[in-house]
């Protein structure tokens, strides 16, 4: 397998860290920020659901699941770009 030069290793880690911060932002937004507005969102109704309630009961959960699959693919792309993915 290929050894990374120090420069490439650093570039790899900064890309990985960048993705990490993006994901943390998604986590923070759907875990906390959106629910701060629950009382206001509850004024909007979709299919009978008050929107603030819906976000905490389903909306954020769907965002969590989708973002994790997206993350797994994205990080794998980075691994392959730098040639550090595992050989099967």
């Amino acid at each position: 397998m290929s050894q990374l030069t120090p420069e490439k290793a650093q570039a790899y880690w900064s890309r990985t860290s960048g993705l990490m911060w993006t994901m943390l932002a998604i986590w923070f937004f759907f875990g906390f920020v959106v629910h701060l507005f629950a009382p206001q969102l509850n004024g909007i109704r979709i299919l009978g659901f008050p929107l603030g309630f819906y976000m905490a009961a389903q909306g954020s959960l769907i965002a969590f699941v989708v973002s994790l699959f997206w993350f797994a693919r994205k990080q794998n792309d980075i691994d392959e770009e730098f040639g550090v993915a595992e050989e099967e």
């Binding site: 990985t16 906390f32 389903q58 993350f71």
Partner: protein, 614 residues
């Protein structure tokens, strides 16, 4: 991955077929019992068949998967595909509290209860982005292994074991308690006996085959628990709304609930956010909502029985995919739970409250008889309904809202009857609850026994112990821990549910900062990490114990279930400050960190006082 043994490879390649057949067989079994019921077989016999046949299947998987190899015993040979590891993690994760208790909490708490739904799912983002891939690359057997390798030896490892055991033992006690409740209810045997019946089931699964047996049993348990959870509420939704998709249709129920709440004069609405019992929105309730979410999420990413599941995938890439699958399988149950709560509330508002006492639906009486529901209109109602103790009814022959009591467990358990389904579905729900409790207990017991046998005995007491002896020690410890937990559970400690939530805060404060900073900040020093673990664990326990048992005032009104809100930052700050005050980690250690940050290549272990050799 190469080097699969012949039989192992054949098994892994045919997983889809094997579990497909298993699912079909289970469906056939349920239909067979339904036919038996129609032919007049008694409910008790059906309950027995459900409990013993499902436990028998788990035990059979445990016996087939027995092993005497270290790699198989501790990490299932590291060849569990992402999808199946996701299912196993799902049932490892979802406990009796999720399966039976959560919908009931949502019924009672409304919006506030959604903190559990959010907290117990969002934590998987932290698992995937911060920890699991790197721990998988590290590639040893336990979470304390990582602390030992990263922080120079046995002191850090020992601190990790202490936190692990404090968090996991209370948790496993609650699971065994749950097994006892379900088994005693459906078998009609005493609680104490039921605890030990459940214990036998848990031990046969995990003792012979360790992680390998637990993995394949947990996949089987996931299939049963998700079927059992979805069927009753899907049918109820079809009956109430005409569409069998409860997750979409309970919006209608929420709308109706809101209208009825107005006529009944309920001040705190089901969907109202951040409000107190008087229905007034306020800061403290909002703060507690977010504090609980935060502690449960961070705790998710620090509970060793979950983290160790990602040691079993074939690669780092599959570890990441596996976390995504885990959350998907957990999501299926958690986004259904609020619909149970909404449909049950609608049923209560429409068909129970305001009815003549003599005209109450049948389920009120049958679940009241075993103390889960109370219709407390008459002055002597507590002679019929145990839950009515202390409730003053006005004896007008009509059930008012304040005369109605319901136990959280009743929501899921009574739904089959509310939906007018035959008893076989109630038995199915019991089998699902049992699967949820048993699978979580399996994972927790294994985490504790591995920490004791691998980290304490092998790493710290006798590093030259031969494989055979290590495996024997591990199995003996498993039995000892299980019996200790069963003994505590049989005492029925009253604070048991609170203790489960504490486990999250304890794990989050004690383990999360050391794990995350060990991977993401190279400057973290041995002393810093140990000081941080002690500080986080100490602050959290101090707040818990003083507020719970000595009546100390709450800080900013934060309930002690969320003590991690103070413990986690304390641990991060202490780790940071002490690390900067002490020497930076050696070049060797930095190379080690570099090597676990990259999926490919070897792990370059730094020499520590207990250098790892395999």
């Amino acid at each position: 991955m190469a080097n699969n043994s012949q039989s192992g490879g054949g098994f892994i390649n045919n997983l889809g077929k094997i579990y497909g057949l298993y699912t079909g067989g289970f469906a056939g079994f349920v239909i067979f019992l339904a036919i038996l019921e129609q032919m007049g077989v008694s409910n008790q016999v059906i309950g027995y068949l459900f409990v013993f046949l499902t436990i028998g299947v788990y035990a059979l998987i445990g016996i087939i998967s027995r092993t005497a190899e270290m790699g198989e015993y501790y990490v299932a040979g590291r060849r569990v595909p992402a999808l199946y590891n996701g299912m196993a993690t799902g049932s490892d994760w979802m406990s009796a509290a999720s399966f039976i208790g959560m919908a009931g909490s949502l019924y009672l708490l409304g919006y506030d209860g959604l903190a559990f739904v959010l907290g117990w799912t969002g934590g998987y983002l932290l698992v995937s982005i911060l920890l699991a891939p790197y721990l998988r690359k590290f590639g040893q057997y336990t979470v304390p292994d990582f602390l030992g390798a990263r922080y120079g030896g046995n002191l850090a490892r020992f601190c990790g074991v202490i936190v692990l055991i404090s968090a996991s033992f209370t948790y496993v006690t609650a699971q065994i308690f749950g097994v006892g409740i379900i088994a005693s209810r459906f078998l009609g045997i005493s609680f104490e006996l039921a605890v030990f019946v459940g214990l036998a089931g848990i031990l046969v699964c995990s003792m012979l085959g360790g992680m390998r047996a637990v993995t394949w049993t947990q996949v089987a348990q996931y299939i049963i628990l998700i079927i059992a959870y979805l069927i009753p509420v899907v049918i109820l939704s079809a009956k109430v709304t005409g569409v069998p998709i409860p997750q979409l249709m309970y919006g209608q129920a929420l709308e109706k609930i809101e209208v009825i709440e107005k006529t009944l004069g309920v001040v705190k609405g089901h969907t109202a956010a951040f409000s107190n019992a008087q229905g007034v929105m306020n800061f403290t309730d909002g703060l507690n909502f977010f504090a609980l979410i935060f502690c449960l999420m961070v705790g998710t990413a620090a509970l060793p029985h979950i983290l160790m599941r990602y040691f079993t995938t074939p690669s780092v890439r599959e570890a990441r995919q596996s976390v995504a699958w885990s959350l998907f399988f957990i999501f299926l149950l958690y986004f259904t739970a609020p619909s149970y709560a909404a449909f049950a509330k609608l049923e209560v508002y429409q068909n129970v409250i305001g009815q003549q006492i003599t005209a109450l639906p049948g389920w009120v009486q049958s679940w009241g008889a075993i103390g889960l529901v109370g219709a407390c209109d008459a002055a002597n109602a507590d002679t019929i309904y145990a839950l009515c103790k202390g409730v003053k009814g006005n004896a007008d022959g009509i059930l008012q809202l304040n005369e109605f009591r319901i136990h959280t467990d009743a929501i899921v358990l009574a739904t089959p009857e509310i939906a007018g389904l035959p008893y076989v579905i109630a038995g199915l729900v019991a089998a699902g609850g049992l699967a949820a409790a048993l699978s979580t207990a399996d994972g927790l017991l294994l985490a504790i026994a591995n920490a004791l046998s691998h980290d304490i005995y092998y790493r710290m007491v006798d590093p030259h112990a031969p494989t055979a002896r290590r495996l024997i020690i591990s199995r003996v410890l498993l039995i000892v821990v299980a019996i200790a937990a069963a003994y505590v559970a049989s005492l029925k400690p009253s604070t048991i549910l609170a203790m489960v939530s504490w486990a999250f805060s304890i794990a989050a404060s004690g383990l999360f900062p050391a794990l995350v900073m060990g991977i993401w900040w190279k400057r973290t020093s041995n002393t810093g990490a140990v000081a941080g673990m002690i500080a986080g664990y100490g602050v959290c326990l101090y707040y818990l114990i003083t507020t719970q048992f000595y009546g100390a005032p709450l800080w900013f009104g934060v309930r002690n279930i969320s003590c991690g809100l103070f413990g986690i930052p304390a641990a991060f700050i202490v780790t940071y400050v002490v690390s900067l005050m002490t020497a930076a980690p050696s070049k060797e250690m930095q190379d080690f960190i570099d090597s676990i940050r990259v999926p490919a290549g070897d792990v370059k272990l730094a020499r520590t006082e207990d250098a790892i050799s395999h």
